[in-house]
C-alpha cells in the first residue's frame, strides 16, 4: 500500500459566515501518486474541500472544523497557508486573477522569491519548471500578451516550481476554450505520469477531464461524499445523472441506443471504449430516428455586410465580415480569443463604428443611430453579471434603463413587473441585488435588458462557469424567450451549448468569417474546429467508429432525442 498524503477523518467544516457546515463527516484518503477527480454541482462543497487542503480555509476564509485533516502525515491544524504550500501547489480557476508577476518568469518565481531562494538557484529552477510545462520560450512575456491557456501554463509552472509533491487544481478548465482545456488536461496527465506527483482535480466538466485517465472519481453532494469509485464503475452506476452532473455525451448516446454499458467495456473514453457489442444497436438506433428536418429559411432581421474594423487601421480586427441573423433564430458566434467575437457584438451595439461596411436591422441602416437608440432594439448582456449591476435593489436595477429614457412611472412599474415575472424573479423584486445567487444575478441582468423590449438579445458566454443544473435552467429560460419570438445571438466557446441550442454557428478566425453552418457540421469539420480552438466532440468520434455517414447527421439525431429525454 502506498503512503497516504491527504487524510480526512470525520472532518466537518463550517464557514464563519454560514449557519450550517459546508462539509460534513468527510472520510477520505488520497495516496501518493494517485490522480483523483472531485466532482459535484456548485454549492456542493467541492471547492471548500480544496480550500481545506491548501489552507485557504480557515486561514483566508475563516471557519471552524471538527475531525482531523492530515497532510503528509501531519495534522494540518498547526500549518498555515505558506507551510502547506510547500506540500501543495494550487492552480485556481481564472488564470488571469492569479497572475501576480509582471512577466512569466517572475510569476513562476514568486514562490521561490518568498522562500528567499538565492538568485542563481531561482533562475535555474524557474527554467526547469518552464521546461516541464513546455513554456520556456515565453519567460519574458507579459500577462497581456498571453492567451488564457498560456496564463494557465504559467500558473501551473508556478505551482510546480516549489517542488510540492501534491498538485491541486480548483476548476482549472473554467475559463479556457475547449482546445486550451483539452491541452491542460493532457499536460496534467503528462506531469502525473512523468513526475509521479499526486494530482487532485476539482471540476464539474467531467467529460473534458476524462479525456485522460484518472484513478478515482469522488462525487460530493451537499457537503458529503456520495461516491468514491473508479471512473468506469461510476459512469455505469447511473449516479451522475441522479446528482445532476452531465455524463460524457457518447455514453448518453449508447444508453439511448439501449447498449449495455458495463465497466468491462471501458466507457471512460470514446476512443477506447469497446464497441463490439453495441455497434449494431447504435446503427439501428440511428436509422430508427427520423432524419433532421431542413431548417426553414428565416426572414433576415439583422444583416452585416462587408464589415471591416480595427482599433489600429494597420491591424484590422475584423475584415470584410458579412452575416445575417434571421428573425427568431438562435445564432452562435464562435472563435478563439482575439478572433473578433466580442468586437462584432460591440459593433452591432454601436460601441464602435466600423471603418467600412454596413449593419442593417429590418433593412434599415443603423449607422446613424446612437448607442442608446440601438439599445432599444438590440440588447447586450455581458458575461459577468457583476459588471452590469449598478443599483442596490433588484426593482431599481431592472427599471434603470426605463428611468433613463424618461418613461412615465406607471408604465415603468408595469413593464418591470412583467419582465420580472418572465424571468422568474418577481418574488425577489424588493430584494437587494447582492443577496441573489449568481444564476439569479445573471437573470437580473437579462431582465434589465429585456425590459427595454429589444428585438435581438446578444449574450456573451451565457452559461460560463455554471454547473449542469444552472446551465439547463438558464438555457430553458432562453429557449422560452426564443419561443416567444426573441432572436438570440450567443457568443460562446461552449460546444455543448452550440450543439444543443444553436440553430446555426458562425466561426470567426483572425478577423474573417471562416464558416457558417449548423453546429453539428461545424464541429465535424476538422479544419474549422482547429482554427476556432474547439475540438471534435465525442459524438462525432462515436459516429466515425461505428461507421455512420455523415457523422453530423448522427449528432443532430442524438441532440433531438436528448432534448426529448430532458423534457
Amino acid at each position: 500500500m502506498k503512503k497516504p498524503v491527504i487524510e480526512f477523518d470525520q472532518f466537518t467544516f463550517q464557514y464563519r459566515a454560514q449557519s450550517e457546515p459546508t462539509l460534513r463527516d468527510i472520510n477520505l484518503t488520497i495516496h501518493e501518486g494517485e490522480k483523483v477527480l472531485i466532482v459535484g454541482p456548485s454549492g456542493s462543497g467541492k471547492s471548500t474541500l480544496a480550500h481545506c487542503i491548501n489552507g485557504l480555509a480557515p486561514h483566508f476564509y475563516p471557519g471552524e472544523h471538527s475531525g482531523v485533516l492530515k497532510i503528509m502525515g501531519a495534522d494540518s491544524k498547526g500549518m498555515g497557508i505558506a507551510e502547506l504550500s510547500d506540500f501543495i501547489g494550487t492552480v485556481m480557476q481564472d488564470p488571469d486573477g492569479q497572475f501576480v508577476g509582471l512577466t512569466v518568469a517572475e510569476d513562476i518565481a514568486f514562490k521561490l522569491e518568498n522562500d528567499g531562494v538565492p538568485h542563481a538557484e531561482m533562475i535555474r529552477r524557474v527554467q526547469e519548471a518552464a521546461a516541464e510545462v513546455e513554456f520556456s520560450d515565453f519567460l519574458d512575456a507579459s500577462p497581456q500578451e498571453l492567451s488564457g491557456g498560456q496564463k494557465q501554463k504559467t500558473t501551473l509552472a508556478g505551482g510546480l516550481v516549489g517542488g510540492a509533491p501534491i498538485l491541486l487544481f480548483d476548476e482549472p478548465l473554467a475559463s479556457l476554450d475547449p482546445h486550451a482545456g483539452r491541452a491542460t488536461v493532457e499536460l496534467i496527465d503528462r506531469l502525473h505520469r512523468e513526475s509521479g506527483r499526486t494530482i487532485m482535480i476539482v471540476e464539474h466538466r467531467l467529460e473534458e477531464v476524462l479525456h485522460c485517465p484518472v484513478d478515482r472519481i469522488i462525487v460530493i453532494e451537499e457537503g458529503r461524499i456520495v461516491a468514491d469509485l473508479p471512473p468506469d464503475e461510476l459512469l455505469c452506476s447511473g449516479l451522475l445523472r441522479e446528482k445532476g452532473i452531465r455524463e460524457p455525451l457518447h455514453l448518453s448516446a449508447m444508453r439511448y441506443a439501449g447498449c449495455a454499458v458495463t465497466p468491462e467495456i471501458g466507457p471512460r473514453s470514446v476512443e477506447s471504449v469497446d464497441l463490439e457489442g453495441c455497434t449494431e444497436q447504435l446503427i439501428r438506433w440511428h436509422e430508427a430516428n427520423l432524419a433532421s428536418p431542413k431548417s426553414d429559411v428565416k426572414q433576415p432581421l439583422l444583416e452585416l455586410e462587408g464589415i471591416t474594423f480595427g482599433y489600429d487601421p494597420a491591424k484590422p480586427v475584423l475584415q470584410d465580415v458579412s452575416l445575417s441573423v434571421g428573425r427568431g433564430e438562435i445564432l452562435c458566434i464562435a472563435g478563439r480569443n482575439g478572433a473578433g467575437k466580442s468586437t462584432i457584438s460591440r459593433l452591432i451595439c454601436g460601441f464602435h463604428k466600423p471603418s467600412s461596411g454596413s449593419i442593417r436591422l429590418n433593412g434599415r441602416d443603423l449607422s446613424r443611430d446612437t448607442i442608446r437608440e440601438r439599445a432599444d432594439v438590440i440588447g447586450f448582456v455581458m458575461q459577468n453579471p457583476n459588471h452590469m449591476l449598478s443599483k442596490p435593489l433588484l426593482y431599481d436595477e431592472v427599471a434603470l434603463g426605463l428611468v433613463n429614457r424618461g418613461v412615465p412611472e406607471a408604465e415603468i412599474r408595469d413593464r418591470v413587473n412583467e419582465t420580472l415575472r418572465v424571468c422568474g424573479l418577481y418574488p425577489f423584486r424588493s430584494w437587494p441585488v447582492s443577496a441573489l445567487s449568481y444564476g439569479q444575478k445573471k437573470r437580473a441582468t437579462i431582465a434589465s435588458i429585456l425590459v427595454l423590449r429589444p428585438e435581438i438579445l446578444i449574450l456573451d458566454e451565457p452559461t460560463a462557469g455554471q454547473d449542469f443544473r444552472h446551465y439547463n435552467e438558464m438555457m430553458k429560460f432562453l429557449m422560452e424567450l426564443n419561443s416567444q419570438g426573441m432572436t438570440l445571438i450567443l457568443i460562446t466557446h461552449d460546444m455543448h451549448l452550440m450543439l444543443e441550442y444553436g440553430q446555426r454557428t458562425v466561426v470567426l478566425a483572425e478577423g474573417r468569417k471562416l464558416a457558417d453552418d449548423t453546429p453539428a457540421r461545424i464541429l465535424g469539420n476538422a479544419q474549422v474546429v482547429e482554427e476556432a480552438h474547439l475540438h471534435e466532440t465525442s459524438l462525432h468520434i462515436l459516429a466515425r467508429r461505428i461507421g455512420v455517414q455523415p457523422e453530423d447527421e448522427f449528432v443532430s439525431r442524438f441532440i433531438r432525442s436528448d432534448r426529448r429525454m430532458m423534457n
Binding site: 505558506a82 501576480v100 509582471l102 518568498n114 460601441f351 449598478s390
Partner: protein
C-alpha cells in the same frame, strides 16, 4: 485602446540599462539637492545635467507629454499663487528692493521677486526630468525590488508593483462596463447635465469597485497560496548586481549633490544673492 501613458518601453539607452536601484538613488539625491538649494548657479548646472541625461535616454515624447502638460500647468499656477499671496517674498529674502513696475495696491513687480520665482521654476525643471526618468526608464519589475533595496518594506513595494500589473486590466474593465451602461441610457458624455453625469458616473463606479474588490480578493488568495509574507526578507528574480557603471553613476550623483549642498550653504544662506 487607451494610450500607453507613463508606461515602460525599452529603447535600450544607457539610462535604461542602469540598475533600477541606481536610478532611484540618483533621482532621490537629485531631488533632495534640487529642493533644498536656491543657489541659482548650482541649479543651472543641475538643470544642464538633468536635461542631458533625459536627452540621452531617448524616452519618446508621447509617453510623457500628458504628464508634462500637467506639470507645466501646475507650475504656472504655482507661480501665479506665489505672486498673489506673497508678492514681496523676494524682497524679504534678498533684503533689497528694485521696483520695476507698480501694478496695484500692494502688488508691484520687483527684480527680487522675479529672480526668486525664476529660482522656483528652475527647481521644478531640475527635479522633473529625473522623476520622469525613474518612472519611464525603469523596468516595472525592477521597481519593487529597487524600492525594497533602499529600505521600503517588500510588502509595500510589491503592492505598488501589483497595482501596475493590474492597471491595464482595470482600464479595460472600465471601458467594458461603461459601454454596456451607455446602452442602458447611462450617458457620460457632455450631452448630459453635470449633476446627472456625476450620478451616472456612480452607476458605473459601483460595478467597477465591486469587480476590483473581487479581483483583489482573488489576488490576495493567490499571493498567500504561494507563500507571500512568510519571511521577513525575500529574494527577487529581477534583482541584478550593481555594475561598475552603476557605481560610477551613484558616486557621481553623490558627489554632485554634496557639492551642491556645500556651495549652497557656504555663506550660511540657501539663497544666492546677486543683489548685493
Amino acid at each position: 485602446m487607451p494610450p500607453k501613458l507613463l508606461s515602460y518601453s525599452d529603447v535600450g539607452s544607457p539610462v535604461h540599462r542602469l540598475n533600477g536601484v541606481t536610478k532611484l538613488i540618483a533621482f532621490l539625491l537629485f531631488s533632495i539637492a534640487g529642493m533644498v538649494s536656491y543657489d541659482t548657479r548650482c541649479l543651472l548646472v543641475m538643470l544642464v545635467i538633468s536635461l542631458s541625461v533625459f536627452y540621452i535616454s531617448k524616452v519618446p515624447f508621447k509617453q510623457y507629454s500628458f504628464v508634462l502638460y500637467l506639470i507645466l500647468i501646475f507650475s504656472a499656477l504655482n507661480q501665479l499663487a506665489i505672486f498673489l499671496f506673497s508678492p514681496e517674498q523676494g524682497v524679504q529674502i534678498y533684503g533689497t528692493r528694485h521696483e520695476l513696475l507698480h501694478i496695484a495696491g500692494r502688488y508691484s513687480l520687483t527684480s527680487e521677486q522675479l529672480f526668486y520665482q525664476f529660482n522656483v521654476l528652475l527647481k521644478f525643471a531640475v527635479v522633473v526630468p529625473p522623476a520622469l526618468l525613474f518612472l519611464l526608464a525603469t523596468e516595472p519589475s525592477e521597481f519593487a525590488s529597487s524600492l525594497n533595496r533602499v529600505g521600503v518594506s517588500y510588502k509595500v513595494a510589491y503592492a505598488i508593483s501589483l497595482t501596475m500589473r493590474y492597471i491595464p486590466d482595470v482600464q479595460q474593465e472600465y471601458v467594458n462596463i461603461s459601454t454596456a451602461a451607455q446602452a442602458r441610457g447611462i450617458d457620460l458624455s457632455k450631452k448630459e447635465k453635470l449633476g446627472r453625469r456625476v450620478k451616472n458616473m456612480a452607476a458605473i463606479l459601483l460595478p467597477l469597485v465591486l469587480a476590483t474588490l473581487e479581483r483583489i480578493e482573488k489576488v490576495s488568495a493567490a499571493l498567500e497560496l504561494r507563500g507571500f509574507g512568510r519571511k521577513r526578507k525575500r529574494t527577487w528574480y529581477r534583482s541584478r548586481p550593481l555594475t561598475k557603471r552603476d557605481t560610477l553613476v551613484i558616486a557621481g550623483a553623490v558627489l554632485i549633490s554634496a557639492a551642491v549642498l556645500v556651495i549652497t550653504f557656504w555663506d550660511g544662506s540657501r539663497f544666492y544673492n546677486p543683489f548685493v
